[in-house]
Subunit: 116 residues, 2 copies
């Protein structure tokens, strides 16, 4: 084990964009995990991609927030063919419901507890 | 049990605002749950409050997204004295780290699986 601590993606200099994806999954994995891992690797290749945070309450909501420098970066990721196939598969198999928000970050800041 | 299904907050008509709070908590509850429940009730009284989604990975990240009609609603909630006291307590006791984003939603949509 390293001393790497879990931490949310830190604030960037506004303006930038947050893509907020809130979802409830269907029962079972149905190949979600594998595809999700692959998408997480693929998105890193998009110029202007700034990072991603994810949380999932067992049996409840999932929230993924992706950060991008500008709308051009979001459009590039949105148009990626592998990503489009994954989205289509998601609507068919993985999601009971979801809401997607594209939002321009106007203000942000990060807090970190002082280390002992 | 009712037939009420868990679902994310649905898309509203843009523009509106998303306040995205990503955090890692300290060990233990330390009174967090009680205060969190109280804040969730209080924020409903803010004119322009549109809803809230929350997810927490056990042992990992928490993400809370609050939706507000405009910046005036966010400012009212930001200035609420009970909320300010809770924020101060949070920095002292509950959070290892957090990032707060205030972001203007430009585009959003909701998907719901057709019911059998």
């Amino acid at each position: 084990m390293s001393d790497h601590r879990i931490a949310p993606v830190a604030a960037h200099e506004p303006p930038y964009y947050a893509v907020v994806f809130t979802s409830v999954r269907t029962e079972g994995d149905n190949g979600y995990g594998e595809t999700s891992d692959r998408m997480e690797e693929l998105v890193k290749e998009v110029p202007g991609y700034l990072g991603m945070d994810h949380a999932r309450t067992p049996g409840g909501l999932s929230i993924t927030v992706g950060y991008f420098r500008d709308l051009a970066a979001i459009e590039e990721w949105r148009g990626n063919l592998d990503h489009r196939a994954a989205q289509k598969h998601g609507r068919a198999h993985w999601y009971e419901s979801y809401t997607l928000h594209v939002a321009k970050v106007e203000r942000s800041h990060t807090f970190e507890r002082a280390q002992d």
